[in-house]
Symmetry: C2
Subunit: 462 residues, 2 copies
């Protein structure tokens, strides 16, 4: 089995004494999804990923970019090409496209600079494909991950039709109107590559968008491989271990001190335009305005950590988020009560402590491939906490019946949802939390991986 | 027959001497579409519209808001309600939604103010329906126009199931993902009303979006009336009359002086975010950068007039447009040559003169219900001019084979399209212009109106 993902399972750091490298677990949804492979990968597993930092590249050159139980191959890509691939095309265009984040009157602008970046995207995707084709044995299963590697399946299929390739998209997928925003050749290449293999998505909705988009671009009569739906589930063992760690216990005590006997509304997100942080704070502001009974009785802890700071859109958004929090606090704070606590440390133990402790978890993205936090929360939570979940998150398809639905653009509805959650009678709350636990734990990350392998094995070899 | 449109065929102005009112032809696509009715409406035609200005309202109160050959009923609406209906909901939300113009990370925000505005939208739509129901005879045909009156068909159907109502949307229609941005009750009301009658669109694409959006909102099993496609055509007689007028001839001479023996690239648009003015100038800039042979040999006349100045988005966009023009001129102007001439007068004679005179007409909207200028241009043009037309304009479905296609987000492709048009050999140019004239003149506004009436007459009475 071969895994291909832009971000690998480990990142490497040069030791302070200069002798060798230490390795750390990678972060992000793909790392969670594939994490168990680090412990018990099948014999002969190969994982191909990019060397993302100078230290990663140094570790590759020193022959020390290794992982236990598998053959880890970090690609030592030209840093400028890697930047064009990741910052400009993957995160600057495809992420925005699939999440519907473009302010279309102004962006994107496909110019010569984009054409160069697209060649960088092609180069990196081809480098992944070349490495896979070089290392793969006859009929191997190849699992290609996410929007950074959309062209890799097509390149592999051309060179090695014997390999059994699947691609899995962890984001939403552009619908038939949105896909038309891409330059014609880009859209054709993307849809052509993906439609040559079984493609997986976390939710039916994104699989439907994918089918409609590829039809739009390639024509209704062009046969494409049918996509499949396989939602990711939490890594329950790892979560439980973390929750029982001393670091998580310490974070929980810190949170107890902060929250006291108030109710805790929690959100945990990267600071990303798709996460809808601004309307979350605006809805909370409306709640405090219209339901004065909650003033001083609730605290909203926003564990939101900065992300993609190389993109100006993200720096601007982060400023807006900080201003939105300041506005709510300026308006409602009293001595001894901050309505919103913005915590931008990236600390997994603190997050796990928060998930154990919330009364209400607010997850209100504009669009989200799945949103794993919405599943992790109910499994970790110790207080029969409720989840207010956007209908536009992939996880809503599975959790919908037990969450309180949130309309991400509707501030009045979102404030209502928070109020409903905060006032829910104990009986109903307990019943919902139990149902949520069942639904959220119905699938684990191992189930997801097994589904991918099964789909790949079923793929016809040509 | 009853027409219902927010903007009526005439606007009224109080005479300087205070004695009575003068009337002027209304502007905009709907006015063009329905213009012929002012000359030869069938006996008993009633036209219901809003009184849009103080003078309109004064004319209504004085009983002088009248038109020849028909019963004109201008509704004297509360100005604040009319503002909520038109500025906040129709132009501030529905226009943005149907054209995909929201910067979704930030807008829209459905708050209490929006809820109040939505009640204003309902009130105005109900006032139209009430007036129609009051005036209509048994089995009358009712033609309801555009996104400002989306709820009117549903209200009419409830009160007067005997009437044969059609609705026609002159804009694009939101797809199944975009429609989810609306608050749930708003989306349900909108789709419910429209799906209760035959709905018309200028292009198959928008009809398909409508079907997909209503399925998304109302459920796949809910039976809805099938939409129809009936594209608007130019009012050829009126155009010809205008082109032969002394005012148009004077404007043509003025343009001749301005352009001289250079080639003329022309655009004619309202300054609207959907029209993609910024990328049009950026593509022209790229053309001048990469093809120095066009410097001093082309002039780009942008007849673009300000619009909807009550909306801050439009004021901001207008500033950006002016800056974009200044940038191109700062970069390339020489003594005696301005690369771009920005003409923001709203002057129909000047527009008609421009359409007679262009070598290349640039029509590059992000999304456009039809774009009537793309059809009017070929019919008026005297120089075998070419049209560079966005694939995202409804008119592309009819004109596609004879235009030079434009990808509205792709600056490189748009610059290429302009270069192709400017360098096209005379023979091919003449042949294309001839084919364009045929396609553009294949339907007139009278054909469009006849189609609407036919669809209405075919509607089953219940």
């Amino acid at each position: 089995m071969i895994i291909a993902s832009n971000r690998g399972p480990l990142r490497f750091e040069r030791r302070a004494d200069g002798k060798g490298f230490t390795s750390h677990l990678g972060a992000g949804g793909v790392a969670t999804a594939l994490g168990p492979l680090l412990e018990d990968a099948p014999e002969g597993t190969i994982w191909v990923a990019s060397a993302l930092t100078d230290d990663d590249r140094a570790a590759v050159r020193a022959g020390e970019a290794r992982a236990a139980h598998m053959d880890l191959r970090l690609l030592d890509l030209d840093p400028q090409t890697a930047r064009l691939h990741l910052d400009v095309v993957s995160n600057g265009v495809l992420w925005f496209l699939h999440h519907g984040l473009f302010d279309l009157a102004r962006r994107p602008r496909f110019d010569r600079r984009f054409q160069e970046a697209w060649r960088g995207y092609e180069d990196v995707n081809r480098a992944f494909a070349d490495t896979v084709c070089e290392l793969a044995s006859d009929g191997d299963v190849v699992l290609v991950q996410d929007y950074q590697l959309s062209l890799t399946p097509g390149y592999i299929r051309t060179t090695r039709p014997d390999l059994r390739v699947v691609h899995f998209t962890h984001t939403p997928f552009a619908g038939p109107n949105a896909i038309r925003v891409l330059p014609w050749d880009v859209a054709t290449a993307l849809c052509g590559s993906l439609s040559s293999v079984p493609c997986g998505f976390h939710a039916t909705r994104w699989a439907d968008c994918f089918v409609a988009a590829t039809r739009q671009v390639l024509g209704a009569d062009r046969a494409t491989t049918a996509p499949f739906v396989a939602s990711l589930g939490p890594d329950i063992e790892a979560l439980t271990r973390t929750a029982e760690s001393e670091a998580a216990r310490a974070a929980a005590r810190e949170l107890d001190d902060l929250v006291g006997d108030r109710q805790l509304v929690l959100r945990i997100d990267r600071i990303d335009l798709s996460k809808n942080l601004l309307r979350g704070f605006a809805a909370y502001d409306l709640l405090l305005e219209e339901h004065r009974e909650w003033r001083e009785r609730v605290v909203f802890v926003a564990m939101v950590n900065p992300s993609r700071a190389t993109l100006p859109e993200y720096r601007a958004y982060r400023n807006e988020v900080e201003q939105a929090v300041a506005r709510v606090n300026d308006r409602w704070a009293t001595s001894g009560w901050d309505p919103v606590v913005l915590d931008s440390r990236d600390d997994f133990h603190r997050s796990v402590a928060g998930l154990g402790r919330y009364d209400v978890l607010l997850v209100n993205p504009l669009n989200d491939g799945l949103n794993l936090v919405a599943k992790e929360g109910p499994l970790l939570n110790q207080r029969d906490g409720l989840v207010c979940l956007s209908t536009e998150a992939g996880a809503f398809e599975e959790l919908g019946e037990a969450v309180i639905p949130v309309h991400p653009y509707d501030l009045v509805q979102t404030a209502d949802a928070l109020h409903t959650a905060l006032t829910m009678p104990r009986d109903e709350r307990v019943a919902r939390a139990a149902r949520l636990r069942d639904l959220a734990g119905a699938r684990t990350n191992r189930d997801w991986l097994a589904d991918l392998v099964k789909r790949a094995e079923a793929a016809t070899m040509q």
